[in-house]
Amino acid sequence: METIALIWHNIISLIARDGTKPLAGLSHTKEGRHENRDEDAQYVALCQGGEPAAFEVLVRRHQKRMFNIAYRMTGNYEDAGDVVQEAFLSAYRTIKHFRGEAMFSTWLYGIVVNHARNRMRQTGSRSYHEPVSLDDPPAGGEGGPAFDPPSRQTPALDVLVRKETQEKVQGCINGLEKEHREIIVLRDIQGFSYEEITGMLGIPDGTVKSRLSRARNALKEGLKKALGDL
């Protein structure tokens, strides 16, 4: 009897996993997010109940992803740090208003997108008009972003080539219109679902789709120019 139940459970979970499995290239499964959501909710409730220490957990949990969103949107390492700080601060201030209708992470990433958008507006279209210089790429380590090397075994030349390519790609992203930039970052780099993006940007599903379509085509043109061939 128990064996039958176990098999039945496995079948169910397999079906469920199949049904929710996203396409290749997306780093976060829905299942994983639901887990996060549950864990977040616990700490969010603590924060809302006047326990500021619980916010630290949320900071540690989400700061890297938020930083990456900010970095890819602003195209600037320092700006991204400021944006993340501001976003966390305003999240902290407004966490009491978070009703739990959406996932906490969606709410939080919406805040960082908003702050990154504001930062982009403040810095003007600086990065838009000044594409990344290929002759003088920002140094890694202290001055610039430290990328995770794909593998420790990768030859130094490959690392350099890869780094250069990535900078070119970022340069192309920076050259996009702001609206296109944020949708590319959220969908194609961060892998958020349309629903999540809808929640973060406050735009309808159809707009996400059409904007993404235009953004990808624009990026395609840019990348073709920057990289020669895709």
Binding site: L23, F147, D148, V169, D188, L212
Partner: protein, 362 residues
């Protein structure tokens, strides 16, 4: 061509897995036949792969600490704001409540005390007789003594408010005031001595003596008028009321300046009693039984005053009932009924004073 554009529109949804099975099949079927579209979608796939392959960037090492320290600061300032906003609130609310209660109590107290004072001071109905003539005013001083003989004849004259309606604060009356005051000052020279006598010597004999010597009265008046400012003396005389003078003399409390808020309708009844305080209690009982409100009592030397608001309809009954308990000096009484209720002030004088006044009149 149009077909290609339709298919291209679905590329995004197709790549992201947001197409229904049927639509996906349509796209795939088209891609199998159209190399252009296939090329395009391959490009898009590659772009997606490039973007998905972008390395994650490590945030600067101190970022977490920075965020947390900023939140800590926020918490501090929030606590500061919290304190500034709410801590005083705990104190402020009781303070404000206390202040409100204090203001209310003060208002009630001031109102009550001024009501009492005005009840003793303001006698608009007495004003007209005062500005008539000297003899008239003198007679009034002696009124208690002559009340019985004079009652039928003089009562209308002294009570009637017709010559100058009481407390009509019209400019016309204001204009007429100065001459009246001047005249009254003269009157005062003669009118005041008997009154002063009450203060100086409450016994009948000395009072009579003093009343019979005009020079001394004048001196008395002059010396008296030196203490309070002259205009005030004049004003008091203008009212020309024995009771008031007596009240002043006996109470010896400095009077508040004349108030503009004299009740429009004010009845005054003067009574004689051997025991003014006892009578005052009876009067209060009567007033209460007649439904009077705001009953107030004050007692000075040999004079008890009861005041209150009474229904105009009950005025006559009040008078009748008062006559039952003690003699009413109708010469010094005036009954004025207002539209609804009337302010009544009943002064009960000790009958010993009657004796003091009687010789003056005779």
């Amino acid at each position: 061509m149009r077909k290609c554009r339709d298919i291209e529109d679905r590329f995004t949804a197709y790549l992201d897995g947001y197409l229904e099975t049927a639509e996906r099949e349509i796209v795939e079927e088209h891609l199998s036949r159209c190399p252009d579209c296939l090329h395009k979608i391959e490009d898009l796939k590659r772009i997606r792969a490039i973007l998905a392959d972008l390395d994650e960037v490590d945030p600067p090492p101190g970022l977490t600490a920075k965020i947390l320290s900023r939140i800590h600061e926020e918490e501090k300032t929030k606590a500061g704001i919290f304190h500034r906003l709410f801590f005083p609130l705990h104190i402020k609310i009781p303070v404000q409540a206390l202040a409100t209660v204090f203001v209310v109590v003060l208002t009630v107290y001031v109102f009550k005390s001024t009501l009492h004072e005005t009840a003793n001071l303001e006698r608009p109905s007495a004003a007209p007789p005062a500005v008539e003539t000297v003899p008239d005013a003198a007679k009034k001083q002696a009124a208690p003594a002559v009340k019985k003989e004079a009652q039928p004849g003089r009562r209308p004259g002294s009570i009637s408010p017709k010559p100058a309606p009481p407390a009509t604060q019209t400019p016309k009356k204001e204009a007429a005031a100065p001459p009246a005051t001047a005249q009254a000052t003269d009157t005062a020279a003669q009118a005041s001595p008997p009154v002063r006598a009450y203060k100086a010597a409450p016994h009948p004999a000395p009072a009579a003596e003093r009343a019979s010597s005009p020079e001394r009265h004048t001196d008395d008046y002059l010396s008296y008028s030196k203490a309070p400012p002259a205009p005030e003396a004049g004003r008091i005389k203008t009212r020309g009321t024995v009771m008031e003078e007596k009240g002043r003399a006996a109470g010896s409390a400095p009077m508040a300046p004349a108030r503009a808020s004299v009740p429009d309708v004010r009845s005054r009844i003067t009574m004689m009693s051997k025991d003014p305080r006892q009578t005052a209690i009876q009067v209060k009982t009567i007033m209460r039984s007649l439904g009077a409100t705001g009953i107030d009592e004050s007692a000075a030397d040999n004079v008890a005053t009861v005041s209150g608001w009474i229904d105009a309809a009950a005025l006559k009954e009040l008078m009748a009932r008062l006559k039952e308990i003690a003699s009413v000096d109708e010469r010094n009484s005036s009954l004025l009924s207002g539209p609804k209720s009337s302010f009544v002030e009943i002064a009960i004088r000790g009958s010993g004073n009657d004796d003091a006044v009687k010789p003056v009149d005779r």
